[in-house]
């Protein structure tokens, strides 16, 4: 059984840290933000949770979804 690489731990911790630094929220708020944004948008749009994605950048919050399939 392979030990979980310390890099994947580091990356997950870092992503939570930079997200909370960028928008000054608690490190674990990201998941709540994603869920609530999804809940709001899904009231108006025909989207499903797995095609919905939120990315917090330094100057933008990007909400993306993969869109309707042909």
């Amino acid at each position: 059984m392979l030990r979980k690489s310390s890099v994947s731990v580091a990356k997950n911790r870092l992503k939570a840290l930079v997200t909370s630094d960028r928008v000054q929220c608690l490190p674990d708020s990201y998941d709540n933000i994603c869920r609530e944004l999804y809940e709001t948008l899904s009231k108006y749009m025909g989207i499903t949770e797995d095609e919905f994605h939120v990315e917090i950048e330094r100057t933008h919050i990007l909400i993306s979804f993969s869109g309707e399939e042909a």
Partner: protein, 263 residues
């Protein structure tokens, strides 16, 4: 007309000063006229890293306060053509100069030099504000560690907010043996998080320590870090240079095991 580049990091101890010294030496080797300025008031270091500590008469604060003329404070590095140091003051604190004064000084220096490199103090307080005031572009130095990358992200945010748009990243002290084992973040891991253009990746190299011990830039030595720094200098000048293969030290087995990196 010269260009002012601030070298910054947020976190201390990631290699800003060594980077400034080596890029300064490297650009002067490429026939550019360069001045490096230590803006860390109260904690003078750049002179020591460059091996010029015994030649200091005047410093940055003397120039700004008008105690001496700019030319009197510039120390010429005799080993290089056209490389000058403006040292910091060891006895003053950050409040001795203002962002406006730094801006005036750098614009004066732009008339005479091709590149003005500012070695920024750690932190995000006034020393940082002074150092970035006159900058045209920035180089952010980080190491592949959580705390250093986190601080780099904040610094990049502050630089962007202050209107600096040309920001490039140096990832310092990479150990490929650890990256291969999945125990150190790779260049790709770091750039993915920070999402700014990479201008260089520097392997952890004992030559850097040896160079610092002797007060000599590693750029002149036949070493991996020296080559990485000289590639960075070319990229600063707009010359396209392929990124060096940091894996070249590895044996076949290590290269193979790199293919099966743990995720």
């Amino acid at each position: 007309m010269g260009e002012v580049i601030v070298i910054t990091s947020g976190k201390g101890g990631v290699g800003k000063t060594t980077t400034t010294a080596n890029i300064g030496a490297g650009l002067s080797q490429l026939d550019k006229k360069v001045v490096v300025i230590d803006t860390d008031l109260g904690l003078r270091n750049l002179d020591v890293v460059m091996g010029l500590e015994n030649l200091i008469v005047y410093n940055l604060v003397d120039v700004i306060e008008g105690t001496c003329r700019l030319k009197q404070a510039l120390i010429r590095d005799k080993r290089y053509e056209n490389l000058y140091l403006l040292p910091s003051a060891q006895t003053k604190d950050k409040s001795a100069i203002s962002p406006g004064q730094m801006k005036k000084l750098t614009s004066e220096l732009k008339e005479e030099f091709d590149y003005i490199l500012l070695d920024c103090p750690a932190g995000i307080e006034q020393g940082f504000q002074n150092a970035i005031a006159g900058a045209d572009r920035s180089i952010i130095v980080t190491t592949p560690e959580v705390s250093a990358i986190r601080d780099a992200d904040r610094i990049i945010g502050l630089l962007e907010k202050s209107g600096l748009t040309q920001n490039a990243l140096i990832i310092n002290r990479i150990r490929m043996d650890m990256v291969r084992k999945g125990d150190m973040m790779s260049v790709e891991d770091v750039t993915e998080i920070l999402s700014i253009p990479l201008i260089g990746a520097i392997p952890d190299d004992e030559h850097v320590v040896i160079g610092t011990n002797q007060g000599e830039p590693v750029i002149g030595l036949d070493s991996k870090a020296g080559t990485a720094y000289s590639n960075i200098c070319k990229r600063i000048m707009g010359i396209e240079v392929p990124f060096m293969n940091l894996n070249s030290d590895a044996g076949l087995f290590a290269k193979l095991s790199g293919l099966f990196r743990k995720e």
